[in-house]
């Protein structure tokens, strides 16, 4: 079967339709969406008001673009936090839930492939997350009108959020396939999300501190100059990438060359003005890393699920022995 046909078949996946219908019939779907939008709206509104007040008191004038960029950043960070909380919750019960409901065996006896089941579960759980992100776009657009954020920043900030959602969704589905119980899968999914969102930041900071105290690196944050020894781990942290996108210090659009360099050589030694390595913006690394994690977790999940079915075995023909 051609890759295109397989992809098109993947889109026409009964599991996606069934999951979508089931999810949207619960009271939770509209409540979560309402809560999500209300919280992001409230954060944006509060930030605008506080920022306007503080700016008026301190310098007596209000810079719309500065206030707009700050409010946008606050909302984007808050959205990323919410998505990192929602994505595991939406995906962690995907396969283990089928097992607990005793519907998995019946599904495995159907013609849907193991890939079709995992892909369907991933798309279904991501569809709701993407719906949340999409519904929040008008809120971001309203703050965008204040200025201070250019369209590329707007786009990249949403891209980082979507990539994070997909990465965390795929990780959660992997745990859901590995563990029999949804509780264990949920705990591991949140542990993974914590590791990605907070663990990478803590470890990176510790690495930087170690470098600094060892005198092998110079942490020059006070001078605003570049950080020559920025640990590569920072590049995996979506919050760091988002910060670098919204408060750029040498921001550059990715090129095909950049991606190829990233894939072949990895991130350069330097952050923005690298020493001896190719230019890689943190968000390039984050998006690519999340994509790779999603692919790896999907492959692993499919492999685990295939193990629950009888796999085709070739009949070994007995070798005719020649007469002595």
């Amino acid at each position: 079967m051609s890759v295109t046909r397989r992809f098109l078949q993947g889109l026409d996946n009964p599991i996606v339709v069934k999951e979508g219908v089931s999810r949207m019939r619960t009271w939770r779907a509209p409540v979560v969406a309402t809560l999500y939008l209300s919280l992001i709206g409230a954060v944006g509104y509060a930030w605008l008001n506080v920022d306007i007040g503080v700016t008026q008191q301190s310098i007596g004038a209000v810079s719309a673009s500065a206030i707009g960029s700050h409010a946008f950043a606050a909302m984007a960070f808050f959205q990323l936090t919410l998505i990192s909380l929602f994505a595991p919750a939406l995906a962690a019960g995907a396969v283990s839930g089928e097992r607990e409901r005793q519907t998995l065996d019946v599904l495995l006896v159907s013609r849907v492939s193991a890939f079709g089941i995992i892909w369907g579960k991933l798309v279904a759980s991501m569809a709701y997350t993407l719906l949340l992100i999409l519904t929040a776009l008008p809120l971001f657009a309203a703050v965008f009108l204040f200025g201070g954020i250019d369209p590329s920043q707007f786009f990249v900030s949403q891209l980082i959020t979507v990539a994070t959602a997909i990465g965390l969704g795929a990780i959660s589905i992997f745990w859901s396939t590995l563990f029999k119980r949804s509780l264990a899968a949920t705990v591991m999914s949140y542990a993974s999300a914590f590791g990605l969102m907070v663990g990478t930041a803590v470890l990176s900071t510790m690495l930087m501190a170690t470098q600094f105290t060892a005198g092998r690196g110079t942490l020059i944050a006070t001078t605003g100059a570049q950080t020559p020894g920025l640990p590569a781990l920072w590049y995996l942290n979506p919050f760091f990438s988002l910060y670098e996108v919204l408060f750029p210090q040498g921001y550059a659009w990715p090129t095909l060359r950049t991606f190829l360099q990233l894939l072949i050589f990895g991130p350069g030694a330097g952050g923005y003005t690298p020493i001896g390595g190719p230019v890689v913006e943190p968000w390039h690394a984050t998006v690519v890393a999340e994509g790779l994690v999603a692919v790896a977790c999907t492959i692993a999940s499919v492999w685990l699920l295939r193990g629950r079915r009888t796999r085709p075995r070739r009949r070994v023909e007995p070798v005719a022995q020649e007469p002595a």
């Binding site: 005793q102 065996d105 019946v106 013609r111």
Partner: protein, 312 residues
Amino acid sequence: MIAVDHLQKSFGRQVALEDVSFAVPKGEVFGFVGPNGAGKTTTIRILATLSAPDGGDATVGGVPVSENPAEVRALIGYMPDFFGVYDRLTSGEYLEFYAACHGVPRRRRARVAQELLELVDLTDRRDVAVDTLSRGMKQRLGLARALVHDPQVLLLDEPASGLDPRARVEMKELIRELRRMGKTILISSHILPELEQLCTWVGFIDGGKMAAAGPMEEVRDRVTTGRRLRIELAQPSEEETERVAALLRDHPGVLAVRPLPDHLEVAVNDEVEDEQLLSALVEKKVRVRSFSQIAGDLSEAFMRLTEDHRGS
């Protein structure tokens, strides 16, 4: 249609199946009988491509389960002993979902669902959420689900477990209807009287070993030694019953006599001819209202077989 040949399966040190062999011809209803933990579900799961055997072969419609599981899946409809439902779907949506999973073209799915709901008598529940159905209705819906792709073979693991008497009767009727439709059905149960009325072939399994398998009558004849007769008297007074019981006990070939309130049960060996016994009673002025043979009981056959099997 189904052939199981020297099947073996272990879970760690626990041997689940040990040299299990049987065959089910096309269009027959095979009763797979055994106590809990005998290996019925393990065998059915291997046939359903959900578990790989450690040894031996299993084929469905001539297709080896281990070599071409995808083709086998197209041939079978599987109903596990316990199965859940998607509680936020209606009965119609539930069947359409599985029809899609089995590759039924989109334009045919609604019609297939409607026809199957008619078959299992749930047409009026088409738009009702599945979780509001009774257990019996869910079992019938599960059977309809196993039929969405019109499989030739049905693997039904304890389909009547947990059902009330009425639901059991309905389930039996459904299975008879499916046999009339030409389906080959493997049905496991430990409720023997139900299978006796349904099945044309039978297989006894105990402790992972097959004790017997074949056409129902053949297995019954093979297992049952001697016959049992039921004699109903025209004047069943206590004295008359005792007199007739004594006469029967003196008759050659009679093994045992059991006087019951309204009739006598007589165990005889295979050499006793019914006409001779009846003539002997009539000669002794016994007024007989009815004289019939009690059919061999599947439960009895099963008990004997498993006792022999455990003893061997």
